[in-house]
Amino acid sequence: MSDWYSSADLTALWLSLKLATITVIALLIIAMPLAWWLAHTRWRLRPVIEAIVAMPLVLPPTVLGFYLLLFLGPRGWGGELMIAAGQPPLAFTFTGLVIGSMIYSLPFAIQPLQNAFQAIGKDVLEVAATLRASPVDRFLSVVLPLAQRGLLTATVLTFAHTLGEFGVLLMIGGNIPGRTQVASIAIYSHVEAMDYGAAHALSLTLLGLSFVLLCVVFTCNRRVRLIGPP
């Protein structure tokens, strides 16, 4: 192992995995109710919300990262809010990375979930209600099992997408080894320093990991679309 990776690189890999895991968990908690609402609302402005959710697909990550940096920095609203609460601003912190990753991966969590929820429809939930299932019970016993493929797709895509993130993270987190230097940024540093061997080691690791994860998605869910209408 140590022949392949320096200890700084191992830390970067570990940070990447930690970031991806936390992002998946936090994002699913937010994405599930939002995707449910998008799947069932008849609100006229739903397309606007859908467009906002899909924005990270088309925006250059640097644009997203730039505005997040302004927002979370000491002079932004988010930063001022943290300072008012007696906390340091979130720019250049791991928490800042999590927030950036969640926004950047939002469409990758929302779209598979929204597809899955739409496919379930309201009928089967009404049936469950007439069979004495409370709303929470209906979600656990009907929605989750029927949406399990969508859930798995959302999880794996978010995880893989977060591993591969670069622009947003660099803008918002900088390149602080041990704190915000994730694998993709470490690769960039190695290339800048002409250390192609180290860059190879990390790059091949991410390549292999991403390939395996996508294989899982496409094996479980034959109709997955990474982009496109829900």
Partner: protein, 358 residues
């Protein structure tokens, strides 16, 4: 025992306003054209749609003013038009879904009984997709029953099925009410289903109740459009009293007299429903003898009514408390000088027993 409803629902282009008391026993058909609001009414009673007003089912208050019991806390069984089995659960787990969610003390229908009643033993291990539409609907009915409901709501449960599947399910529904005694509200736009199943009937038209009463009364009421349908018929209730194996006939006792029907395997003493079409009854002033029509009943004319067909009149006849209809020519009515209060003999050309033999 009654189901008291006072419900109002406003929707774009449609309003429902129903205040009535329905029988808390037997099968009550909610009958009307599509768009009359039958399904809306059933959904509002169940609480699937929230109307304003009140619903009380055999003493249990489900909705009153701002008190609205959510669907999952109402003791009801609901069978939808579409089969709607949970696709991720086996037939057995579908059946157990509601059963498990009812406290043990509240279960009045054992699992095995519901399975046997709807003939589901061979399917328990299968997945819903492996069943035909009719079989799926039987599972849906059993699944609803297994919550031991105080009221069973069936929303056109046969409408999505082909004729053969309908015939396959009807006997099961007939048995439901008889063997379990759960009151049933049955939404339908099929006169055939209603005459087969219903004890009482509610006529719904544009979100309003236009008539409500016993099936015999409503089908034979000359003030209602049902009496003027081409297939207008009376449903009479009688008891099987004898079987004649020589001539392959059975005898059914009506309050107005005995009547021969095609041989049935139903046991003696069993209550049966007979359907007699208005076009199959002719009237005579004196007792006809030596006729090929062997079924002869005595009754009294209640009313004579004009029909769309100027050559015909519709005669409503009282048969010792039950009513039936006879469609005859205006010429015959005039020649015989038929009038209300006149005793007549009814020659019944054809009778159908509306009961399956299973």
């Amino acid at each position: 025992m009654s189901i008291d409803i006072d419900l109002k629902l406003m929707r774009q282009g449609f309003s429902l306003a129903v205040t009535t008391s329905l029988s808390g026993t037997g099968v009550t058909a909610i009958f009307g054209r599509s768009g009359a609001g039958k399904t809306s009414l059933l959904r509002c009673i169940a609480g699937l749609d929230q109307a304003t007003g009140s619903v009380t089912v055999n003493g249990e208050r489900w909705q009153n003013g701002s008190n609205f019991t959510p669907v999952h806390r109402r003791s009801l069984g609901y069978v939808f038009q579409q089969q709607n089995l949970f696709p991720h659960l086996s037939v057995q787990d579908n059946l157990l879904y509601g059963f498990k969610r009812v406290a043990q003390s509240g279960r009045t229908i054992p699992f095995d009984e519901a399975v046997a009643l709807l003939g589901l033993e061979p399917f328990l291990k299968r997945m819903p997709q492996q069943l035909s539409g009719g079989q799926q609907q039987r599972v849906a009915i059993a699944r609803a029953l297994l919550t031991s409901p105080r009221l069973l709501l069936l929303d056109e449960p046969l409408s999505s099925l082909d004729t053969q599947s309908k015939e396959e399910i009807l006997p099961y529904i007939e048995r439901l009410n008889k063997s379990l005694g759960i009151p049933i509200l049955y939404v339908s736009h099929s006169a055939m289903e209603v005459t087969r199943l219903a004890d009482q009937m509610v006529l719904l038209d544009q979100g309003r109740i236009s008539a409500n009463g016993a099936i015999n009364e409503l089908l034979t009421n000359p003030a209602l459009p049902l009496a003027y349908r081409e297939d207008a018929a009376a449903i009479l209730t009688g008891t099987v009293v004898a079987h004649d194996s020589k001539f392959h006939l059975s005898s059914v006792a009506l309050p107005a007299g005995d009547i021969w029907v095609a041989h049935t395997k139903l046991p003696i003493g069993r209550q049966v429903r007979l359907q007699i079409f208005a076009r199959d009854i002719s009237l005579a002033l004196s007792k006809p003898s030596q006729s090929s029509i062997q079924n002869l009943l005595q009754g009294t004319i209640v009313s004579l009514n004009d029909t769309n067909e100027p050559a015909q009149v519709l005669v409503q006849v009282d048969l010792a408390g039950q009513h039936c209809l006879s469609r005859i020519t205006r010429r015959a009515a005039s020649t015989l000088n038929l009038r209300p209060g006149l005793p007549v003999y009814l020659q019944v050309k054809s009778v159908a027993v509306m009961e399956s033999e299973r």
